[in-house]
Symmetry: C3
Subunit: 469 residues, 3 copies
C-alpha cells in the first residue's frame, strides 16, 4: 500500500537492520504521546472538514514557506495572509500547489520533504511521486479525500492513535476549546500548556496589554510584584483545572537570577512605569524563570525551557506577515552559568521537573548532557525545531548519550502546528531511534535486552512519566 | 595509469558505491568553475615554465609549511623567503623535498597529503608512493616533466578544463595581467575579484597608504566619506570592466551596522586623523560591509564574506616572513545578530547576493543554514580553509542539508594559491558529494532522479548561476 | 574466558574489521603509558588489600554516582562520605551494590558502563551479565577475589603492564609515597605531577593557606611576587627530583597575559592583602599560566592545561560532600585569543611543551587543531572527562585529524581516580583507534604502512616521547 521503503530512516549498518525492524515494530505499537505542540485546539473542538490542500499543508507550515522564500518564491506568490487580514489576492490554490512542486528539488534531503511525502503516502495513500507533472493529479486526490467521510479532525485524531496531545496556550487564554473537547466522546485527551511569555518579557510590545489581560482573566488587580505573582498562580491553577501538566518558556537566553522580594518589587514597578532597558528587561525575564521554577516546585507543572531564538529576524516579514513565518534564527546559547541560580535552588526539589531544549547544538555535549546527567530534576528534550531531522537526531544522540544516557532524555516531541504531520514526525523519530539502538547493539555497546527496554521508554514511557500523563 | 583507487573518497556505504560511481562520472564530465581562489594571475599571463618542484609544491603552500613547522621543521630549513627579500641561504631544493618526505607521516589523514598525492599521480603520472626512499627519484621525474613541452601554465589551464578562474585582487590592483590574458587565445576566462580589505580596516598598518593608493587608482581625491565611497564605486566599476563578478571580504567579525550619513562622515574623519580605537575601527568595518552590500545591490557584484580568522597569530612568524604563512587561527564567530542590519536592508533586494563562509563550524546548523534557508539573497559557501577536507565536507553537509537543502549552497570553491591543486581539490569534493548523495539515496532520503539533478547543480550550475558566470 | 566480543568498539566498516584486529593486536602488545591521572599514590605505596566492591568501584567514581543522582538516587542512599568525616549511616555495601544494579539501565550506552563491565569481565573473570538478579552473586565473587592472593595493588600494577603512572599532586605535597615506591621492587614507575592550582587562584578559599603551605614546604618566605616565584621554582625542583615530568593546570579559562614585573608585584600585593575581585583574580590566573610557561621553558616540565570546568556547580552537593562529586559542568572556552600571549612568547621555545585539553568540543576544529597544526610546542590531549567515550573519541579524531594530523596529538590519557579502570580505559581507546585507522585505510585515505606506524605512535611512543618518559 505504501510506496515508501519499509526500512527507511533506520540509517543503521546492514547487519543491524533486522534488529532495527524488530525494535521499530515494538515502538510503533505504542500510541503517540505528544506533550508539547502547537496544534490549534479549535481545529479539534470545531471538527470541521479541512479546507483545500494548500491551506492544509502549505500556508500554515513555515518550514515550507521559508524554504520557498529562500529560493526566490515570494510570500505574495504563496498568498500568505498578511497581518490582521486574509490576503485579498485570491490566488488559486492549485497554482500555489504547482509552485511547490516546481521547487520541490529545493527540499531534497530536508525533513519537510520527508514529512510531506509521508503524509501523501500514509494518510492520503498517494502512490505517485510528487513532482511538477503529478502535482495536479495529487491535488485532486487530496481534495477528494479531505471532503470524504471519515476525514474530520476528531476522526483523524483517533486514527492517529494519539493518547494525549498538549497544545500551547497564552497566559489568559479562555481554554474554551479544551473544555469543549472534554465533553465530547473523544477518548484521547487534549490538554493545554501554560505559556506566559507575553507577561514575562517587558521588551514585547504587548507586555502591558498582556498584564491587563491577566488581570481580567485572573480577576486579580496587578499593582505589585506580589499581586502579579498571585495572578500567575491563579492562571496556572486555571490551566491545571483544564488538564495542563506543563508550562512552556521561550526566552532569548536561559539566564536566571536570585533577587530579594524588595528588588523584584522595585524592578516590576520600574518596568510597569515604562522604564524598560535591555538590562532591566533581561533581569526581569531571569527573575520570571526563577518564579515559575518556584511555582512548578509547588504545583508540579513541568517546566519546559527553550531559549536561543532570535524571533522575527526579518523586520520586513514581521511587519507584513506577523510572527512565526520562518524568519526566526537561532543564536548562541549558554546554560551552565545561566541556570546555576535556578538549579542551586530547585535542582533537587522533589516536585520540580525541568525539560531543556536548545537550538545551539554546541551545548549538547558541553552543557546539557552533563547537567541532565547530574541533576535529578532535569531531562533533555529531543532535537528542537531546525534540529528535528534525521541528522539532527543523530547528532543529538551522539553528543548526549554518553553523559546523560537514555533515561535523562524525553521521548520524541513533535512541536508542530501541522496536525497531519504528527504521525509522520513520531514515526520518523521512532525509525531513527530503532536504527540507532540497533547499531549500538550491533557494535556491542548495548545489550539486546536493554535495547528492548529503552525502545519502549523512548516510544512511550519517558514522556508519559515525566509529564505525569 | 593512476595508482589511486577508482572509488576513493566516496566514503559511502557498500551498497551505495555503484550509484556513487555513476554520479561521480557525471560530475567529473563538467568543466571546473572556480569562482573564488588565490592563483596569481601573473603566473598565467606570463606563462613561464614552472621552477623546481619545491618552489612549485612546497614553499608557497602554507598548509604544508605550517604542518612541517608543527613537527619541528623550521622555516629556515624550508628556505621560506623572509619579508621583503628572497632567502639568501640557498638550501638545495632537493634537501627540502627530502625533508618533506622524512616528515610525510605527519600529513597522514590530512587534505594536504591527499592533494599532494593526487597531483603526483594525476598530473605527474608518478606511480611510486611518496616516501623518504622514493623522494629523490620523484623529484627528478617532476623536474623532468615541468621542463618538458606541454607543461606551461596556460597549457595546464586548458588541460585542467577550467572554464572560469576568479583570482583575488587588491583594491587598487592594476589588473594588467587580466587584461593581458583577455588578448591571448586562451579560451577559459581568468577574472578578478575585488577585495577591499586594505581600505576597510583602520587597524591595518597599511590603511592610510591603501587609501592613498585608491585615490591614485580611482583618480578621486578622498577627503570625506562621500568621496571615499565614490572612489570605491569607481574601483568596483574598473573591476567589472575587467570581468569581475564578485567582491571578497575577510573581516575579524561579521558585524554590520546602520549609521546615518553624518555619523559615517564623522567616523571616517576621526579615523583618517589617526584616532583609531578598537571600537571605532570595529564600527568602521561594520559600516563598510553595509556600504559594499549597498553597492552590490546596485552593481550586482556578488558579495563574499568570510569572517573569523585571527590573522598572523604568531608575531615572530609575521615579523620575519610576513602574512599567509600558516599562522592564522580561527576564532568564534557570530552571524545571527551581526548580519541582522545587513539582511534587514538587503536580504530581499533583487540584485543582492551574499555568499557566507565560516571557520566556526558551530554556526553551520545554528545560524548559517537557517539564514540561507530563509533569505533569498544568501547562499552558503562550501567548507572553508581548515574545513576544506573530507571530514569537513561531511560535517558541513550533515549540519546544513536539512535546514538549507542543496540549492542554498554553492558548488565547490578551491580558495587556493596552489594552481596545480585545483583539479585535485575539485575532484576530491566531487567524489565526496557523489558518495554523500549516493548514501542519501541508499537510505531512502533522496530519490535517484533528484540525486542526479543535484549532482549536476553541485558540480557546475550552482556556482555558475550564482556568480553570473 | 571473556564474555565480551573480541571485535568490540572497533566501530569500523565491515570490510575494515580484519585490519582493525591486526592494528589492535599490535597496539595491545605495548605496555601502558599513563602520563596524567588521579590514582592516589598511597594506594600503591601502602599496598593494602582492597576493601569491599562498593568502596572499590562505586563510592569513589563520580561518573557513576552523578548518574545515579540524575535518576533520583540520593548520595545518602549511596553512603557517600560527607565533607570531613566518614558517613555514619553504615548502609550495607551489598545494598548499595544492588541499588546500582537496579538502575543499571540508566548507564546503557555510557562509558561508565563499558568500563565497569570490562572490569568485571577482564579483571574479575565474571561471565554473568550484571543486573539486579545477578548482582548479589557478582558481589560475592568480587569480594572473594579481592581478598585472595595476588590481588594487592602492586601486583595488579604489574599485571596491568603499566610502564609509567603519573599521579597528580598538590603544590606542597610531601611526595612521601612516591619516594617510598622508588625503594620497592616495583619495576614500573609512579611519578608525581605538579599541580599548583591552589596557589594560582586567589578566588579559592584556600589560596592564602596554600601560600603558607608553600612557604613551609619550600622554606622560602613569600613576601613578594619574586619570592613567590622562587618558592614555586623550588617546589617544581622538588617534584623533578621525585621524578615529575609535567605540571597540570585546571583553570576557569585559558587566558594568558603579559604584565611587567612591577605590575605583577602590585597585583600580588593587592591580592595578598585580601583585595580580591573577579578582575584581578582573573589577571592573576592569567599571569600564573605565563609564569609556569616560563618555568617549563626553563626546567622542561611539560605544561598541561585543561580550562573550562565550572567546578562545584551544585552548592548543596559541595557544601555537604566537598569537591569532585560529579557536579562540575563544562563551560564555553576560548583558546585563540586567550593563548596568544603565551604562544607568542613560548610557542617556538626549545624546551617548552604544552598539552591542551578541552571540554568544549566546538574548539577542536576551530581552534585547537589549527594551533597544534602550526606551533611546534603544542600537542592535543585526547578527549577529556565527559568526552572520554567512544563517540567522544570519534568526534575528536574527526574534528582534529585533518588540521593537526596524528603526530600533533598525544596517546590516550586515562585521567582516572579509579585504579582498576586503567587497563579498560586504555583498551577501549586502543580498540577505537584501531577501528578508526582501519576505516581510513579502507577508504583509501591512509596507507596500510602508515596506519601501522601511527598505531604504534598512539599506543606508546607519542606520550612517551612528549612527556620525556
Amino acid at each position: 500500500m505504501s510506496n515508501l521503503h519499509p526500512d527507511r530512516y533506520f540509517g543503521c549498518k546492514e547487519g543491524a537492520v533486522a534488529l532495527a525492524r524488530e525494535l521499530y515494530r515494538k515502538m510503533s505499537a505504542f500510541p503517540i504521546i505528544s506533550p508539547h505542540g502547537h496544534v490549534n485546539p479549535a481545529l479539534l473542538a470545531e471538527n470541521k472538514p479541512f479546507p483545500n490542500p494548500v491551506a492544509l499543508l502549505i500556508t500554515p507550515d513555515h518550514y515550507i514557506t521559508r524554504m520557498l522564500a529562500s529560493v526566490g518564491v515570494t510570500y505574495e506568490q504563496l498568498d500568505i495572509p498578511t497581518k490582521g487580514e486574509r490576503s485579498q489576492k485570491a490566488i488559486a490554490p492549485e497554482e500555489i500547489w504547482q509552485l511547490l512542486a516546481e521547487n520541490w528539488i529545493a527540499f531534497a534531503g530536508t525533513p519537510s520533504r520527508i514529512w510531506f511525502e509521508e503524509i501523501l503516502s500514509e494518510i492520503f495513500s498517494i502512490t505517485l511521486p510528487f513532482n511538477k507533472t503529478t502535482a495536479a493529479q495529487i491535488y485532486a486526490e487530496i481534495s477528494h479525500t479531505i471532503a470524504s467521510d471519515g476525514f474530520l479532525p476528531q476522526q483523524l485524531f483517533e486514527r492517529f492513535r494519539i493518547e494525549v496531545l498538549a497544545t500551547t496556550d497564552g497566559t489568559s487564554d479562555s481554554l474554551e476549546h479544551h473544555r469543549a473537547l472534554q465533553s465530547t466522546s473523544l477518548k484521547a485527551r487534549v490538554i493545554p500548556t501554560f505559556r506566559p511569555d507575553d507577561v514575562s518579557d517587558p521588551e514585547r510590545s504587548d507586555w502591558q496589554s498582556s498584564l491587563r489581560n491577566l488581570e481580567a482573566s485572573s480577576a486579580i488587580a496587578i499593582d505589585s510584584f506580589v499581586t502579579f505573582r498571585a495572578a500567575l498562580r491563579r492562571a496556572r491553577d486555571r490551566f491545571i483545572e483544564a488538564g495542563a501538566k506543563a508550562t512552556d518558556h521561550g526566552t532569548p537566553s536561559a539566564l536566571t537570577i536570585e533577587l530579594t522580594e524588595n528588588e523584584k518589587e522595585a524592578l516590576f514597578v520600574e518596568l510597569r512605569n515604562g522604564n524598560v532597558t535591555q538590562a532591566n528587561a533581561q533581569a526581569f525575564r531571569a527573575v520570571m524563570l526563577m518564579e515559575h521554577a518556584q511555582m512548578s516546585a509547588d504545583d508540579g507543572l513541568v517546566m519546559q525551557l527553550h531559549p536561543g531564538s532570535s524571533r522575527n529576524h526579518s523586520r520586513a516579514i514581521f511587519d507584513k506577515y506577523g510572527p512565526d513565518r520562518g524568519f526566526d534564527i537561532p543564536t548562541r546559547t549558554e546554560f551552565t552559568s545561566a541556570l546555576k541560580p535556578l538549579l542551586n535552588r530547585f535542582g533537587f526539589a522533589e516536585k520540580f521537573r525541568l525539560a531543556l531544549f536548545t537550538l545551539d547544538e554546541a551545548t549538547y555535549s558541553r552543557e546539557l548532557a552533563p547537567i541532565a546527567g547530574a541533576y535529578p530534576s532535569v531531562k533533555l528534550g529531543p532535537p528542537w525545531w531546525f534540529h528535528d531531522s534525521l541528522n539532527g537526531m543523530r547528532r543529538w544522540r551522539d553528543a548526549t548519550l554518553e553523559s546523560a544516557g537514555y533515561l535523562n532524555t524525553l521521548g520524541f516531541i513533535d512541536d508542530t502546528r501541522a496536525f497531519l504531520s504528527i504521525p509522520a514526525r513520531h514515526d520518523v523519530a521512532r525509525r531513527f531511534d530503532a536504527g540507532y539502538l540497533a547499531d549500538l547493539v550491533h557494535s556491542h555497546r548495548v545489550s539486546e535486552e536493554d535495547a528492548s527496554v529503552i525502545a519502549d521508554q523512548i516510544a512511550y514511557h519517558l514522556s508519559k512519566e515525566f509529564f505525569r500523563l
